[in-house]
């Protein structure tokens, strides 16, 4: 019975074990990798995509997908850049850019819930249109941000937590509490499990689904802002392709694209940090840069493979015992 429990523990934590293993392997090759500072850097660089991936997790939980997050980042970043250039103070600027994220999410939700268009297509459309509008505003010219914004990335909360990590942590905490401990959170899982049954059970599915896209839009804008504080500039390609990174992070963390399965913590957080960790590890170990994406994709493939094996195994282990247990 005891090694069965061990087996179960290993199976339930494959991604985490893989994470630790990789961390150690990189550490052995490049001892500096094991420093606390490096961990902080990895977390700090995970934060913007992690925040977006958390939003994506909400959408994935309902069985949807949000391809528009990259464009949302761009659009809201462009607007905050434009407003700052026009002399707006920082606080209202941030508010407006977050509102734009919410608005994008709401538009997605309207198209999906009212016009009944599949999420993939709906968000594909807003992705195209969103970037178009952003380029319309900027004429594709880059937008630079003043030091008042970029210095925010050096702020340490309580004197030791970098602001971006703090916000990432806060987002994760809130999302976790919401998903695990609130009525809407649990209903979200229900909707993802079986939308028709949810409807029959009297759950108001439409506002729930709407909220996930709004949350995703909001987090995309927030993640975009965090990113700006770090890189200080928004060019026409800002955020494009990030939707796939966010999806990959969530799926690596165990979320299912069919809905109903997934968690923010450890799930998505682990997925995000793992990708970032591999990227850093490849730099530390000075792997030929042509091979970076090759190694990265191999590791992700392996992780997802382990995940599917373990799901099968867990199912088998939890298969009902019919025969009487001989004790």
């Amino acid at each position: 019975m005891k090694d069965r429990n061990w087996q179960r523990f290993i199976l339930k934590n494959t991604t985490f074990i893989l994470f630790v293993l990789l961390f150690l392997i990189f550490g052995i090759i490049a001892p500096r990798f094991l420093s606390f500072k490096n961990l902080e850097i990895i977390l700090s660089n995970s934060s913007y995509i992690g925040i977006i991936a958390v939003g994506m997790t909400f959408v994935l939980l309902t069985g949807g997908i949000d391809l528009s997050v990259g464009s949302t980042m761009y659009l809201s970043a462009v607007s905050s850049g434009t407003l700052i250039a026009a002399g707006w103070p920082i606080a209202p600027t941030i508010a407006v850019s977050l509102l734009i994220g919410i608005a994008m999410g709401y538009v997605n939700a309207l198209i999906i819930t009212r016009l009944k268009i599949v999420p993939f297509l709906a968000t594909l459309v807003t992705m195209t249109v969103g970037r178009g509008i952003g380029m319309f505003v900027t004429k594709s010219v880059q937008v630079d941000f003043p030091d008042s914004i970029t210095l925010m990335s050096t702020v340490k909360v309580f004197g030791f937590i970098p602001l971006q990590i703090f916000i990432f942590g806060l987002v994760v905490l809130l999302a976790m509490v919401f998903l695990r401990l609130t009525k809407s959170g649990r209903q979200l899982y229900a909707v993802g499990n079986d939308p028709f049954a949810a409807e029959r059970a009297g759950i108001r599915t439409r506002p729930l689904i709407t909220s996930t896209y709004v949350i995703s839009g909001f987090f995309a804008a927030l993640g975009g802002f965090i990113s700006i504080t770090q890189i200080g500039r928004v060019s026409a390609g800002f955020g494009s392709g990030d939707e796939f990174d966010a999806i990959a992070a969530a799926v690596l963390g165990g979320a299912s694209l069919m809905g109903g399965v997934g968690s923010v913590f450890p799930g998505t957080v682990l997925g995000t940090v793992m990708i970032q960790m591999i990227q850093a590890g490849l730099v530390y170990t000075a792997v030929d840069i042509y091979l970076h994406p090759i190694v990265m994709s191999l590791i992700i493939f392996f992780a997802v493979f382990l995940d599917s094996v373990r799901t099968d195994q867990l199912k088998k282990m939890e298969r009902r015992t019919i025969m009487k247990i001989i004790s």
Binding site: V177, L181, T182, K183, R186, Q187, Y189, A190, G192, N193, D194, A197, A198, E199, R200, A201, G202, I203, G260, V261, E318, R319, R320, T321, I322, M323, K324
Partner: protein, 502 residues
Amino acid sequence: MGTKLKFNNIRKHFFGVTALDGVSFEIEEKHTVGLIGENGAGKSTLMNILGGVLLPDDGDMSLDGEAYLPSNPRDAARMGVAFIHQELNLFTNLSIAENIYINSFPNLNKTPLIDKKKMNDSLKSLLKSLDLNYSPSTTVENLAPGERQLVEIAKALHSDAYLIIFDEPTTSLTARETEKLFTILKQLRSEGRTIIYISHILSEVKHITDNVIVLRDGKVTGSSETGSIEIPEMISRMVGRESDNLFPERSSKPNNSPILEVKGLSQPGIIGEVDFSVHEGEVLGVFGLMGSGRTEMARMLFGVDSYRSGSISIDGNPLPRNSPRSCIERGMAFVTEDRREEGLLMNVAITENIGLVSLPDYCRNLVKWVDAKRMNEEAGIIGDSLKLKASDIRRQPAMSLSGGNQQKVVIGKWLMKKPRLLIMDEPTRGIDVGAKYEVYSIMDRLAAENSGILFISSEIEELIGIADRIVVMSQGELVKVFEKKDFDVTALMAAAFREAVA
């Protein structure tokens, strides 16, 4: 006692087809009312209207003397009407408690957070009263179908509904769970709740209800106290004709050459050392309670699930493992217990469904060109021989059929392959009396053609009525074999309960 619920001249049409044609009746408060009728008689439509899933085209309802017209399930729930659907409405990724509280989570000290402790604590006694021995925080995914049904019932009880609709609640319950359900139903009635009980198992209806309403073709064809109506009369009112025989006369006798031989079939924790054989022309009944391992065994026979040891052979040739396809090639056929998930392509035409298994037989040359014309014709012949009720079997999708006709399509797709051995797992579950009779006739016909049939069921009566021999399974083991002359309800039951009672 007053009137709890009143239907007045309810009508409902679906695209020109009349589902309900002026239904009127009343239900007394604190009564348990059986609602019976063949599939397609309008029971589900009527109950969907009552439960707020559908709106009637015409007519009105009153609940507790006040006009009642729910526009969605939430409305109905608010008015104290709970509907336990035949297809379970549970979220497998949530816990038992969360499923029950899905719309009414208790808050933790006025915060928006859920009070998990309160939620779990409050359910312990309820679950216990249903004999569901799990912690409320157990994920539903880990429960067996019968246990899930109990969760569904717990949910209705917990919502404090005073009018509870049970739609075929016992189809996935074991005999003991059924007994328990009946106890609970009686208790509910004594608490002053009104119950509408829909079932095809008339003995249950007879046993548990105070009144019976019979529907046929969208009209009420019978309404009386249960005590004053016997089962044959219920049937005749349902089908519109006299019916003495529930089972066809068997037209042939089995001979001694075995088709299927199973030796020492084992899978740890599931089944152990199962030996039996099915002979030419034989209907071998398999009786066992829910969770006795009978379904699991059937799935191993057909190569759907894996097994650790043992041998299975057809006509003397051993079967490879894990390959339904080679089973089919050797003449096996398998009507699964879940026709929706494992039997049918719901939005595909009926003929295509019937032809699916035999497709390779209608292929020409290297590229496997399908001779669709010939296939459709032969599928049509099969459909006719099964008396399928469909307007255009080449275009009508399977989902547009009633349950019984859907089951016929599933059987038809195997008949087209002319099976040597047909495994049927609960083939009559959830289908009406008329269709059941036809399913039995098909078995008889097939046996007369020298095929073997493995007929798995939890209804003793139908096994006794149609089988040549019955084997009883309990807790994964084959307990006893009954020859036709020894068939006896009590003895069979006793065998099935052997381990469970001990």
